[in-house]
Symmetry: C5
């Protein structure tokens, strides 16, 4: 058995993707539409304030392409709170015009490969208390206009198997990978969430960006990192732009 | 041909996943909704008492994410009884507002790798009578707030093939795996069900947990076990929280 | 090119899976429902008598789980007759409450690996006339309460390739496999149908059983047979229980 | 780069699969149904005469199983003509009772492996003019009662890669394959269409047969040809029987 | 880590595929249909003029086969503009008769393998300014009657891994590939768009052609290029013909 890297976890995350039935939505009269939008804006406002829980963070995005039209991202301390806010949106009238095309359940995660290198679990316990780590594990969603979400696995192939590789070998690959990420530090804020046991892939990657092009450039460059070239397996990618509560009515025409 | 490990089996299991049509459900009037919920609560109460069979156990869970909204877990002595209780729910009016998005048919299973190591089938026959084993094979669903379900296979790859590995090699890997599981003994109760010939994967894994985080931590740690790293293949994961009959109306708003 | 084993074929087989729209079905009035059921019972009675063809055999099963509710199994001398009986069910009013979720088109098959070993095609021609073989190729569906159906392929991998293995090697693996099957002789009757060129997998396996547990135990034990461990690839498994015409109204509530 | 075999192409082909909504179709009154069928028969008659184009060939088949109910096969000189005839059927009232479950876009193809062996491209140019080749590339659909369609690829695996194999090696495998096909010459007429760049697989295979069993036997025997055993990858198989315009009303009840 | 080739990017691209509900569409009265078509033609005219953005290019195509009926191709400077024009079509009444069956989000890309060979990034910066490159990155959609779109990956297999191959090895393979493409220069104009981080595959390939046959011949010939034979992985292919605004009413009958 290969050595297991410690991990720190924080808030649970729900990425909730919705596709709008435009034909039915457009058929709604102007007055009713305004009321429905008012309710949806109130839902989003409350979600952003995490009014439904002691703490947390939420945001909404307009997704480009056929996979979905809207994505709600909710970060909350517990899994129950995610279920509750998912149901709360289902209780809005806007939800009646949407189908839930995809979702992802995960929890913010910090891998302790580097902490282990510096002396193992004691160091990790200390690390967990640092404000830097707390901010990573309980992150306020940054006010950035672009988003990209995709889930991923580390390959367990018959020849190349991440989970059978040595701890040090994995640590060095993760370090190289982090170095690539830091090059885009000004343009992209990354949120890593773990999902083994919670959803179909092992991790979710959420990229918040100042523009769409750096997303493409970062993900392309990372594909040449040894950890990705050899071990990365990816699910579906969804990209879009931030929709503040005030902007929601505009997006929905 | 590799040696076949003996297995003991107990109750058949049906994991029955349902997605609610919220738009149609919300359109139901308050009085009718109350009547429908009353009928659903009665169904769940009877199922939990296994009123439909000589013995058994049932529970309901609220699933987080798009895959489903509710999961009913039924354990019964026979496959017919599972079919009957599935149809019984279909006869409720609540069922008319749901679609059956997934299900899993299996039977509780205990692998006798360790029994074989201690002297083979005689020992196994003895083992089957023990109260400990009977409790594993005919388990009352524990009163724990979180659940995780996923189906899995052991890989039959061109290089790494569980079913061609030696009995002793497999036994040692299963022992390591059990050791990882025992670390989470206080937090997670595991139910293994076998499904070769019954459903699309070879096993179903149901984790009952005191909290959601240990589920993530256990499944992640196990991924580094040799048996998982080399041979584990996984289907979809669904996670959620227990819904007692009394709590069902609240979940359905 | 590896030597091709001779095969004998008999009746064509259609496994026709249907899922019931329970909500719509339950909304039908008692009188109309009785008329619809009467027509469906008549259809099944006629199918069981093969009234639509010179000879054949049919049966209906209640499937457990989300994949389907009913499976009709039809064995007939020609492919046209299968198409005709599929359309005949579509003409019933019960069919209007179902969707056809899956089906499988194949033809009963006997592989002549052993005949070849005993002297090749002359022996095979003789074999075809024997009552034992005729019963295998034109089987009356046995009166057994449980069923399991799954389609399968023999792997053509980059390393392990059934179709490139030698005839004698394949014969020995098939013999071992048959030996495992014979252990369950009292509990399970197996029907093998070939489907290269007819459907998406190479074979269909239909197990008729006295109980559900032997199905699980047989399929699990066979997974350790060399032919399965190395070369078996499986589609979806569906299991259920026999529904006689008289029992059909009860199953449909 | 491996040497590319020359190919000759002729008519474009559309395999257009439709599933009937039997419930809605049966609800249509007798008079309206007759009018709809008359229009559909006229469409099929015109299609068979290629009245929509300078030349071509069309036929209709009743498919057995859940994948579809009808398949229209259209051969026309240009891709536009295929699009036009697809839309022409969509303009019929019968089309309103169908969903287009699958289709395949390809073009008749003759691989010049043997021509190359006999002296390369000069020989190929000559070949294209021969009546035999013209009949292969612009084939009138034969008047045979059974059909089988499936798409296929040649494997580009990490070990076995058709597109990296030598020209002579590929030619010899194709010759062996053709020899197997010729054994069924009296019973099966094969039409090969190429679809790289046109649809999701590299080739479509359409088998016209005097009976269903030879289809099964041919495809099974070919699976042992080296070219198939090592390199063949297959999509879905659909089988059925010819429906002449006069027979269409009968099939649709 | 393998050396990362520089890339230049230009306009973002949305391939927006729609399937028409012919039954509902045909039921619309002539006058209303004319009004709906007028609006759709106006949408397409404005899109072709990029009236919604400072610059860009758009076109519409009729797709053959079941996957879709229409494809809108939009090239715009920003991802937001793609989202906006997608929503603008959803606001048309014609959109109410369509479902969005597929889409692809990418950005025009020029790989700098050759520039690197000639002296690296300085050269690349210079290259970006050249009119030739600007035309590649901000291309007016050519006035050609045929189109083919497919997404693709470079394989990251356990044996053959593009992202672990050396820069020079990759450059030589790309050069060979370009040579094949140039043979079809008179008949096919190719547009490469990159989509790592933006959609599910790494690249989109759009071929504009004077006829359908060269598409088939080019893609087939390229399959023997080493880069494709060893590393090419492909998604679904869709082919069709250009639909100018004036021709749209004719295509929709």
């Amino acid at each position: 058995m290969a050595e297991v890297p410690g991990t720190l976890e924080g808030w649970f995350a729900l990425h909730d993707f919705r596709k709008l039935d435009w034909a039915r939505w457009k058929a709604v009269g102007a007055q009713e539409k305004a009321a429905i939008l008012e309710e949806a804006v109130a839902f989003l406002n409350n979600a952003e304030k995490a009014a439904d829980a002691p703490e947390g963070s939420s945001a909404c995005y307009a997704i480009v392409g056929h996979k979905s039209d809207l994505m709600f991202l909710h970060l909350r301390p517990t899994l129950e709170q995610l279920g509750a806010i998912e149901r709360a949106f289902n209780q809005t009238r806007l939800a009646d015009f949407t189908t839930q095309t995809y979702s992802y359940v995960s929890v913010t995660e910090l891998s302790l490969y580097e902490a282990y290198a510096r002396g193992g679990s004691e160091d990790a316990a200390e690390l967990a208390k640092s404000p830097f780590v707390q901010k990573r594990l309980k992150p306020q969603i940054p006010d950035m206009p672009y988003i990209c979400f995709y889930p991923m696995n580390k390959k367990r192939g018959e020849v190349q198997n991440w989970y059978a590789a040595g701890m040090e070998e994995r640590r060095l690959m993760m370090r190289e990978h982090a170095t690539t990420g830091r090059k885009y530090h000004d343009q992209i804020t990354q949120m890593i969430t773990g999902s083994t046991g919670l959803d179909d892939w092992e991790w979710g990657v959420t990229l918040f960006a100042v523009d769409a092009l750096p997303i493409k450039k970062l993900v392309y460059e990372m594909r040449f990192d040894e950890v990705t070239a050899k071990y990365g397996e990816f699910g579906e990618f969804q990209v879009g732009t931030r929709v503040t509560p005030a902007k929601l009515p505009e997006i929905l025409g």
